[in-house]
Every structure is written in C-alpha cells, then in structure tokens.
Symmetry: C2
Subunit: 358 residues, 2 copies
Amino acid sequence: MDYDADLPAHVERVLARFLRTAGERIRELEPTFGEGLDALSGFVLGGGKRLRPSFAWWGWRGAGGDPGDAEGVLHAVASLELIQACALIHDDLIDSSDSRRGSPTVHVAFAKEHADHGWLGLPSTFGQAAAVLIGDLALAWADDMFADAPLPPATLASARPAWRAIRTEVLAGQYLDVHTQVTGDSSIDAALRIDRLKTAAYTVQRPLHLGAALAGASEELIGTLLEFGGDLGVAFQLRDDLLGVFGDPSVTGKPAGDDLREGKRTLLVALGLEHAAKRGNAAAAGLIEAAIGAPSLTESEVDDVRAALTEVGAVDAVERRIEELTAASLAALERAHLAEPATAELTALAAKATKRTY
Amino acid sequence: MDYDADLPAHVERVLARFLRTAGERIRELEPTFGEGLDALSGFVLGGGKRLRPSFAWWGWRGAGGDPGDAEGVLHAVASLELIQACALIHDDLIDSSDSRRGSPTVHVAFAKEHADHGWLGLPSTFGQAAAVLIGDLALAWADDMFADAPLPPATLASARPAWRAIRTEVLAGQYLDVHTQVTGDSSIDAALRIDRLKTAAYTVQRPLHLGAALAGASEELIGTLLEFGGDLGVAFQLRDDLLGVFGDPSVTGKPAGDDLREGKRTLLVALGLEHAAKRGNAAAAGLIEAAIGAPSLTESEVDDVRAALTEVGAVDAVERRIEELTAASLAALERAHLAEPATAELTALAAKATKRTY
C-alpha cells in the first residue's frame, strides 16, 4: 500500500477499524453506552489534520523504519488521535467551549440531549459527566490501540518512553495552562513553558520521538529530532496564538477573539503587555489586560485589542519569532539527515503549520 | 518476601515507588504540576482497601502462578489502584461529592486552594479542571505502570484482554449509572446492570481474570472465576447499597443517606418501590420516590425512608439476595479448585465484604 501518498486516509482507516472492534463487545453488553461510543467515533472520525500521527509516521520513515512494519506502525501512531480526542473533549469542558470544528462540543451536545428529553437534574451536569467519561474512554482506548499494534514486542517496547512522556507532558501543560489563567501570570516565561509542553512536546517532539523509536533510531538522531520538533512546535503555537485573535472564524472554526475571552495567557499577550509597558503606552496595556478573560468581550472590543497588539509591535515580534524558530528547526532537520522523502514531507508540514493564513 | 501475609502493604510499596519515579522527571520539567502530582500521590497512598489488587493477586496465586514472577505480578496488579483513583476522582466530580474517606474530594480541595488565594475566575471551575486532569493522569499512569511491570512480554500480553475489558466496562457502568439517574429509571433490571458492570466486573471479575491470565490459566478456569466474581461482586454492591442508606457515617466516611441525595438508583430502592407497589403501600412508595435525588434530604427524612424500606420488606429481600449470591459464588469458588491458600483467602475476602456491619 502506498501509505505516504495519503497518510491521513490510512490513519482514519485504522482508527475506524479499531473503534468498531473495540466498541462491539461493550455495545452488546450495555446498549445504553452506545451513544457514548457513537459520540467518540463521531469526534475522532469527524475531522482533524492527523498532525501527530503524521509527525510520528515521518519520524519512523525518516529514521529508516522497516517497510514490513508499516501497517503496525500506522496502527501505533494512529492511537495518538485518541489521546488527542481525550485532550480536546476534556479541554473543551474545562474551558466551557461551546463549539469545535463547527459542531457542538461533547459536553454541550449531551447537555442538549438532556434538555431535549426533559430529564432529571441539570443538563450541564449530565453534559459534564458524559464529557468526562467519553474523554476517559478515549484515553483508555489510546493505550489499548497502542499496546495492540501488530508489531514485534521489542519494537513496541522501544517506543514506550515516548508514549509515557507524551501523556504526562500534555497533562502537565494543560494544568499549567489552567493555573496560569487563574493566577493571571502574564509572563513571557509562563507562556513559553506552556507552549513547550502543550504544543511542542505533545504535537511535534514526542510524536517524532515515538516514530523514530519504532524505527530503532539512535539516541543521537532522536535528540536532533527533538531539537527540530521543539522549535517547530513553539512556532506552531505562536501561529495558533495569532489565529486565535486575528483568524477568520470560518477557517478557525471558533469565534474570533475566543482565546482572549477564555483568558489564555499567550506569548502574543505577554509580548503585548511587555511592549506596551516599555513604550509607556498605558492605553494599549489597559485594553489588552481588560480583554483577557472577559467573557462578554464584543467584536469591536476584539478589534481594539487587535489594533493595540499591532501598534505596540507585539504582532511583528511574534511573526519574527515564528520565522526564527522555523529557520532554526529546519536547520536541525538538515542535520538529522533523514531518509527521503521524510525531510521534504516534514518541511512541507512545517511550512503548512507556520505560514500566515489571514 | 512473604507477599501473602501483608499484601496491602506490598501494594502500597510498589505504588509509592512508581509514583515517585513517574513524577520525578515531570516535576523537574514543570514544578507547577507538582501540586497535581502530590494530590494524586496523597489520594492513592492515603487509604483504600486494595481490593482489586487483592483479587488479582489471589487469582494469580490460585491459578498456580510462577513464584519467580511475584514482584512483577505485584507491580502489574497494583496498577489497578490507579484506575480506581481515576474512577473515584472523576466520579466525585460527576456526583458533586464533597468528601471521601473523611477528606475533601480533589475538586473541592483545588476549589478551596483557588478561593484561599483569591485567584481569577470561579473556584469551582478551577476545581473541576484540576480533578479532570489529575484523574486523567491517574488513568495514563495506570497504563504505564501495567505496561512496565517487570514480567516476560508474553505473560503480560496474556493479561491484556482483562486489562482492556476492565477499563471499558467500568466506564460503561459509570455512564449507565449517570444515565439511569437522569432518566429516573428505577427498574430492578437497570440497577442490576449497573451492579454487574460497575462493581462485579470492575472490582472482582476482571481483577481475578487479570491475575489468573498472568498465571497462564485455562479459559475454563477463568470462566469459573468469572462466575465466582460475578455473584460475589453483585453481593458486594448490595451490601454497599445497604450501607449507603443504613451505614454509620463514622465507618462509611460519608454522610448517611448520601446515596439517596445523589439519586442513585440502587437495587435496594428498586425493590423498595416494587414491594411498596405490590403491597399497595402508597405512603412508603411516595417517601422513597421523593427522597431519591433530593439534595436537601434531612436526617429525619432519611430515617423515614429507612423505616419505609424496612417495612415493605426491601431490606430483607436485599439481605436474602446477598446470602444467595454469596453462597452461589462460594460454590463456584469450590469448583475452581484453586491452589491454597487462595480459596481460603478469597473466602475471607468474600465474607469481609458481604457481612453485616451495622
């Protein structure tokens, strides 16, 4: 099979098969749980760029993985999408987000089901319960899918350190993110620590590590890939920060300015406050500070924040960082001397995720 | 080492070691997450009867496991306590329970930290976020601990089906439990389905299955142990149902009648309603029905419900079922012909968890 040419479709194929098989027995045993299983399948198969499996796949290909393992590796790396399903379902609950990819989030959909039926208790309580349990199921199934990948036990065991790290690191990043929001820590340092854990490690570094380990890569090669992934991952997140404030809702799938309303302490915001302070621009600082975590922020207030961030130079500063980080990451990629077409494919992924789209 | 004589202490020893090791790197990388790690360690090491590891251990011993595997098996079965930590932390959040084992639940403790610091946003939102993420960490670490048990890969692989089943089944049981509460389904059938999934499978059957599989047990032996565990597990839950309404708060660690306030649709309640209907005792039926899911139920109202459940014969009916199920389970245990002292130990566990304590 030509996996390289249509990787996302192959990832979806093995995910669909896993979800069907894993669900069959429990669906028979307890039909009521079927709506939970359907929600998870709909979520996992309903979209997403399959970024994490793609990085893992190219890490494996680039490190010269045995072509005979391809289907097994595909199965192992696709399981990253189930970790991601848990992370998103639980994150949406924690952030009280109403929609994702243009659809209601899981807790909102189950709260609506409750309300539509006029069930007992509060719809939001039922929505919360369903989102917690369906996210847990995704996390448990991620482990099942990874552990059951049809690969030699020693091959799978070599990827365990990356598997262990990815789940602990993303949870540490999410906790830090929430903690920073409630303490109001607007420091550049905190924003960068969140970016390193929640995006760089989780989306790029550990998937690459996982794939390379499945190919039996040396510690040295893994180290170089972690360098590449660290810089690229932060660049990703900075692009995402910009999209969260400046992005087109029809492209991002969420209302413009939602990152501000949710109180996310991004590097963009941290730089905005720092630049405003340095320039003695109290008006801009006040606008930005007031917007963070203000749930009722209007469209025109978001416009004012955009203008302030641009005026004090924070947007240019973030763009420069994206450029520098992307360049540094590509230099590390060169040094890795991966088997082709991995370098070309990873370069394309890097370009796609860091380029301006607004 | 003499594991048999002091199994809970050995379980705690390997859990403490795992939690320390797993936490070290991430604690260094992101000190803020330390409070989450501390909360999880405190929760896991702070109490609990270690029932699931005990059933798994005796399943392994009874099926004639290789004594050379003992330390590895201990490590594998102790990981069940981390699944349980996730289940309890998330359950307490879902049920809005304030205390467990006499201490504040995780979401309550983190909400209090938020309030004490006067942080931004709502304390309850922060408490929810922390409980979701710390429960997730417990679930991810359960899998890490199980997968890293120092056992031959083939031995560990033989226990994977039980490991897969236990997590999916408990989540299905929890979902069904929540669903039954909101739909107000007071049927005997629904109560028994919850008991089978949430207690019997999760607490007794799958742990026994896991242990026996680690010993290389035959399908036939595993089948007999599942019979034993199914009946015993339901008997457990019925005893727990009685304790939830009639138990001494100083022993159960939660306010008397909390199961009623939370709206749990137990077999005790289902039988109470059925018996009241059969006897045409509308007053008793009304009392019971009104108490389920009434958060402000007073002590004296709980007394009235107790009297009603006793009067219509539901308490006697549940006691009889406990006796019958326990007897049937012990008959299955006989048929399993386990290696001693497993039969004696499992019989003692059965007696301890099903006997009257009020």
